[in-house]
Subunit: 348 residues, 2 copies
DNA sequence: AGGGCCGATGTAACCGGTTTCATCACAGCG
DNA sequence: CGCTGTGATGAAACCGGTTACATCGGCCCT
């Protein structure tokens, strides 16, 4: 065996705090203080430490730091999926916000499965996240048990909730407003086109708000005009085709997402259905393309970035010990464009 | 002081491995074995341990585990931004792939700033990621130093590279193919519309490929027809307007992204420029909407999910000790649709 | 000059797991 | 019956930081 040849530790970045301390001629405590700026250190020693770090190529070990200091400087986010704008854009803003405060983001996605969500939250807690962002306000109660045991701040984004911190808007109110707009235009025959899954509380609330406002006007959405479909352009097209091919047609199609509305407009064009003369189509989110569709899409504008940024800011405040706020509202606005018009035969 | 009231440790999830061991009547080593399935444990003890975990609400401490086992079961990803489909969709696939193997994803984004990228990689390494995915193949050399010191596998996604592991396609070759398609249609006056920033190597390679193929045909892109702009619909529109308002017009506009091409088509319609009769427009990516634009967009289809999934699979293999492969290619395909046609006055 | 204080520094315990190695019980075998 | 090999188990070192606490030297004040 020739394995007894000694290796210079620096070569492998095996250098630890103790190596740095030795090289700088100080104690590990002092090195730690320099690294954290946590206490006063004489200037010459500070520089000696910094030089030693450079020379050794010292890389901190966050696991050790987390273990001993009980803070990981990571923040977790659990989202249904990263693959759609609705979540990726706010998440990007969230990441930037917490990053400015020195936090690293841990991400998990759960594909709209509540049990997977629970599992992911557990994993993030095991990894010692200092705070957590989750989506929506319906979760397995065990999730809250876990979080409360860890006593870390947690914010629910994309929603409003009275019981626990939240950042979002009132999906019920927002959809009522849209229905009112359509009622004002004389519409009485409504269809709704929502993305799966139904137990998604954001979409669920919008359905509730829509139905509630319709009920107040003595109206309802017939079962065969309520369509639940995968969130994609193709599925939006297919659903609209289905709606337009029935013996009777709705005069207004309320889509839970601009992407579905985009599909609906495409389908209408293909079928020779005029928008808004024959049927009005409205969306949700005001994605970039909404104003450029033909006709331009009536929709509800949501400041997606604001959701992530505010959620991040809230958690940072909570970590700094500030008292929890009530629900934080983000901007929404009804944007009326060309895709919604008077119901056929209506002269308001 | 009344603070001497003892607290049951279970209430705060303060239960540690030792508490579990004590309650189950075994040693910490045995508990660890049960938790990891790392060695045989008699069945009755195993059950006792599991029960103790449940009863105490035991939550593992990943920092401690990482520290002592030297593996964190996390994988890092450093992307320019989470906010665009190009990165978020593959990242979602990446996350799912590594998650199946028990890994948690740590994400950092660097906003196309190489120095920030370096910083982020360092942070992820500090956090002890077991493997790393980066985007593209141009990085600060220090980044590789850091990674090599840690001796962890690292894959470059969205690109092909001969020196280090990569998952992607040859941007040069792909753009040459597109140019050939347009040359075949008789085009001679080319404009290019690319998203910032230019030092982005994926887009950079496409520019190189485009220019190279044009040069072979004795052509080039005039400086004022080479436009670099932010990746957004609005900017695509603005750039196309600018191109179409000049004294002379290109007969083909090559966009580095479908989103810009979408904008270009919108601008053309507004200006009364016919596509493809007056000008051909081509994109890149084949996003869902590409086939539904009017006219349908000629573009290069890229399997974005494949990038993330393959990158994840590669890293998992590397972690399992399999030998590194050469560059892994992902599928691309030239998709000819209605937005490209013969150059004006060309009868091929 | 002596006492008190304060700021800089070092010593060593500690965070909560994993893992090496020794030990032990027991089955199989001569 | 005693010896040996095997598989299960436990004791304790260890991972690499942070931090409570002790210490020390110097300054100010009376």
């Amino acid at each position: 065996m020739t394995s007894s040849v000694p290796q210079a530790p620096a070569l492998l970045s095996r250098a630890g705090l103790r190596d740095v301390a030795r090289r700088a001629g100080v104690s590990t405590a002092t090195v730690s203080r320099v690294l954290n700026g946590s206490a006063a250190v004489r200037d010459d020693k500070r520089r000696a430490v910094q030089r030693a770090c450079d020379e050794l190529g010292y890389v901190l070990n966050a696991a050790a730091r987390t273990l001993s200091s009980r803070r990981s400087m990571t923040i977790g986010a659990v989202v249904p999926t990263l693959a759609t704008e609705t979540f990726s854009r706010p998440l990007a803003a969230f990441q930037q916000t917490v990053h400015k405060a020195g936090y690293t983001l841990l991400v998990a996605s759960f594909g709209f499965d509540e049990q997977v969500e629970l599992k992911e939250v557990q994993t993030l807690l095991e990894h010692g996240v200092d705070a957590l962002m989750v989506v929506g306000r319906t979760h397995d109660p065990k999730m809250w048990q876990l979080i409360e045991r860890k006593r870390i701040p947690c914010v629910q984004a994309w929603t409003q909730d009275q019981e626990r911190p939240s950042v979002g808007f009132d999906n019920v109110a927002v959809s009522r407003r849209m229905v009112e707009h359509l009622l004002d235009l004389g519409h009485r025959r409504f269809a709704m086109l929502v993305n799966e899954p139904h137990f998604n509380d954001r979409v669920g609330d919008r359905v509730i708000g829509t139905r509630a406002r319709l009920a107040e006007a003595g109206l309802e959405i017939p079962a065969h005009w309520f369509m639940e479909t995968t969130l994609s352009l193709e599925h939006g097209i297919a659903a609209m085709q289905h709606l337009m091919r029935g013996p009777e047609r709705p005069s207004a199609v309320i889509c839970a997402n601009d992407l579905l509305a985009f599909g609906a407009l495409l389908a209408a064009r293909t079928l020779g259905v005029r928008v808004p003369e024959d049927v009005s189509v409205v969306g949700f989110n005001d994605f970039d393309y909404a104003r450029h569709l033909s006709p331009p899409l009536t929709t509800t504008r949501v400041e997606l970035e604001e959701i992530g940024a505010n959620a991040g800011a809230y958690l940072l405040e909570a970590l700094a010990g500030k008292p929890p706020k009530g629900p934080i509202e983000v901007t929404t606005e009804l944007v009326v464009r060309g895709s919604s018009g008077p119901a056929p035969g209506f002269y308001g």
